[in-house]
Symmetry: C2
Subunit: 381 residues, 2 copies
Amino acid sequence: MPVTYPIVGMVGGGQLARMTHQAGIPLGIRFRLLAASADESAAQAVADTVLGDEKALGDLRTFAQPCAVVTFDHEHVPTEHLRALEADGIAVRPGPDALVHAQDKGVMRERLAEIGIPCPRNRIVADPADVAAFADEVGGWPVVLKTVRGGYDGKGVWVVGDTEAAAAPFRAGVPVLAEEKVDFARELAANVVRSPHGQAVAYPVVESIQEDGVCREVIAPAPDLSEERAVEAQRIALRIAGELDVTGHLAVELFETRDGRILVNELAMRPHNSGHWTIDGAVTSQFENHLRAVLDLPLGDPRARAKWTVMVNVLGGDYPDMYPAYLHVMARDPGVKVHMYGKEVKPGRKVGHVTVCGDDLDDVRARANHAADYLRGSITE
Amino acid sequence: MPVTYPIVGMVGGGQLARMTHQAGIPLGIRFRLLAASADESAAQAVADTVLGDEKALGDLRTFAQPCAVVTFDHEHVPTEHLRALEADGIAVRPGPDALVHAQDKGVMRERLAEIGIPCPRNRIVADPADVAAFADEVGGWPVVLKTVRGGYDGKGVWVVGDTEAAAAPFRAGVPVLAEEKVDFARELAANVVRSPHGQAVAYPVVESIQEDGVCREVIAPAPDLSEERAVEAQRIALRIAGELDVTGHLAVELFETRDGRILVNELAMRPHNSGHWTIDGAVTSQFENHLRAVLDLPLGDPRARAKWTVMVNVLGGDYPDMYPAYLHVMARDPGVKVHMYGKEVKPGRKVGHVTVCGDDLDDVRARANHAADYLRGSITE
């Protein structure tokens, strides 16, 4: 009889599940996946894959039945289904009462205001005229509009400059949140992991560089960030994790404003792009710590292993097959760590990432950016 | 259409295949497994697992058909089957002409002698009386006897002190190799990886500490090993890899004698226990470099990431379930890296390993040994 370590179920077949499976192998646990198709990124790798629809309670139940705990690659499972799984006796982590704050930006903003976490000024807006009123309240256009549910990677987000442009977000028929357009110096992310026990660890605060609303590069730790500001960012993330009773990895995306404030931009309650650097760059990766947390195991050391770690996303370009580019990337730089997700290449889609660790930030950034650009096909030497 | 990166097939469902799968996930390749049962260590994790018998050519063919290359978790596939796969047009790496040196200790010793690699004195022996003659030739008993095929982890190896005891190895009916009992100061391992292109990388030379014929602990790099001796060991391994036309990872187990010589003990042409430290301790693990080599991709940086890395095997003890021990091991030391293989616990069986990296060798050794002993159940605090 083989050993029967607990089964962790993860809903969603994307790259986050793929990398969580990878982190689960050394832990000896069983990893079970609910994916929409056998071609999905994680389904290509995971032995115990159940094909089904995360919106169908029957499929969720079939998938969850043997699991010690169910967790998520994304935030798209309906709250009522999560409650049904809990009623079936399945541990759901993070639980529905926490997860709703990552699912609904309106609920998130309201709760963060209640507990005094600094956020951009915001409110739910009723129509374009109400957006114009909000613009007046915050000192003028442009204004950021977000559908409260369903957005990611810049989708579901608009930066609008007048009442006419403000009409678009309302067409989806979901509530719209207006936020002031923050004059930020840069974006940071504070990633923490918390277990049901209440143990928590904080990763070094990173700088995240976006391009067209999609993360391009993450630098760990954030350069020239004062100890004081870093601790402030970590405290904000730990406070949110505790107050919202988060289990697992919590990513808190932050604005660092030009006048020296830290404001919360977005939350994600799962492993997050801003934490991919931890696979190669930290003693314990975000994926391993997410698994430890949902299993209520003691958490692993979140500290960095190198002075600098830089992760650059590989976005889809013009070439459908990136494998031939491995030859040049790997021959040119034996230290670059390639992480490809097995996803079909589409322009702008995240299909992988590369990581480089080292002592010289300029060198590490140049190497990681070169590898990602070469894989994408935007440079040819 | 999902991307179709090459499929690497690995024969054998043990922990080496499990850890190779883990290393293959970031490379974006497809990993296909031939395992005897769905309960085997690697089969628990690998999506594309074919159940079958590695000794049956039909099963091997079904498994190998879609693979760009076939490689191995062990040395037990019959040479004639490997030649048949090659005749089918499948790349087999390492190839049968190389692999035979890891399958047959008689062939290995003959070939190493031809190319002038220092080995313990040895010859094939016909019967117990011939062993006694060999003992006379090398200066007396005890003598080491090995069946030329099928041994591992101390199985198929006898240290005998007289003619009577020398009878046992002959009972299996396979040829027996006699070797002088080397008065070694310690055991070392030189691990190298070589690609069909002829590119090769050498890992830092490690010290390997055995207990009852089974590896207990590996220290990277080998403490107090002179640069000169380390380079000599690496040159021996690189020379063997080149002369034998090895593709993939080659582990060369070595004796360092009290009189300052390096002698080759055993060869393995696959990822090897003496290289498990590289998962956490090197820029590129032996598993990733094995995959890169069999795919003829440029090899990754083999250098150590920490001053010291210590790996200790977790052997089966009296407790069938090691999972409860995670709580104490992880809470006591957030920096210990646990690697469990999903194997049933049997006394003395390798069921996992732990790794610790750091600057202070005594501290790193103590931490890794404590974690392994606690998981096994041989200490209780």
